[in-house]
């Protein structure tokens, strides 16, 4: 699939739709990276605490920032045990904004996983401080990419198209898998939940597991 995409993209890039280089340069000038410090790239520190101790629970929340040596992308999960996935209180949003101001040049990104916030420009010497402060503000769930990192559509609670409620199912699953050791033992696993056959919770049915609501004569079932 990747090779096909590359071939297809190249044929468009080199074909009748080829862009004038001055137009490309003009557009590129509108996307600027922050004024990064010249830091030494030191990826192992992204997975260690302030005293150099290993922090395996946190490691999956960090990725190297590919545009800048010495910086990391930090993911904060808003998928609490027993709560609606992705909900953030005003206080949590204020706290995330403060973290962005302090550590990430004031930038926050909402990821394609929806409901997860990313700080894209955190110096690698800073992630442990980010996480400590995020934990203090209940943005502390170290379940990124684990079974409780669930995407749920709004479901019958908020959507008139739905046949079934999605959020209570997500809350119950997150309670069943609150043991992070068990979740880590299962490894990377994504559950997407949709309240009807339109499957908004998982476009193209791409999740590892994907319950969808259906209405049948016996009542509301899921499939």
């Amino acid at each position: 699939m990747r090779a096909n995409s590359r071939r297809s993209g190249q044929s468009i890039k080199d074909g009748a739709l080829a862009l004038d280089p001055t137009v490309v340069a003009d557009i590129a000038a509108r996307f600027r990276y922050p004024d990064y410090e010249a830091l030494e790239d030191n990826p192992p520190r992204t997975g260690t605490g302030a005293r150099g101790q290993p922090l395996p629970r946190l490691a999956r929340q960090f990725r190297r920032q590919p545009q800048a040596p010495g910086y990391a992308i930090v993911t904060l999960s808003l998928k609490p045990e027993g709560g609606p996935p992705g909900d953030a209180t005003a206080q949590q949003m204020d706290a995330i904004a403060d973290l962005a101001e302090r550590y990430s040049f004031g930038e926050i990104r909402a990821s394609a996983m929806s409901r997860i916030w990313r700080l894209p420009h955190v110096a690698q010497r800073g992630p442990s401080g980010v996480v400590a402060r995020a934990r203090g503000n209940r943005g502390r769930h170290a379940n990124v990419n684990l079974i409780s990192d669930i995407i749920a559509c709004p479901g019958l609670d908020y959507c008139s198209l739905a046949n079934a409620r999605s959020i209570p199912v997500a809350e119950e699953i997150s309670r069943r898998f609150k043991d992070l050791d068990l979740a880590r033992n299962l490894g990377r696993l994504h559950i997407n939940i949709s309240g009807c056959i339109n499957a908004c919770g998982s476009p193209s049915h791409r999740a590892h597991r994907h319950p969808r609501g259906r209405e049948e004569r016996r009542g509301i079932l899921t499939r």
Partner: protein, 41 residues
């Protein structure tokens, strides 16, 4: 319930696994999935 979908560079559609599951049993079934996975992998 579908299982086995992927959204990364090896994108794949999930497969429907068995009959429909009653709403109140979804979490139980997910737990069963997890237990079976740990046992069989």
């Amino acid at each position: 319930m579908t299982i086995g979908g992927r959204a990364d560079e090896n994108a794949e559609l999930g497969k429907i696994l068995g009959p429909a599951v009653p709403y109140g049993e979804i979490a139980d079934v997910v737990e069963d999935f997890a237990a079976a996975y740990l046992e069989l992998r």
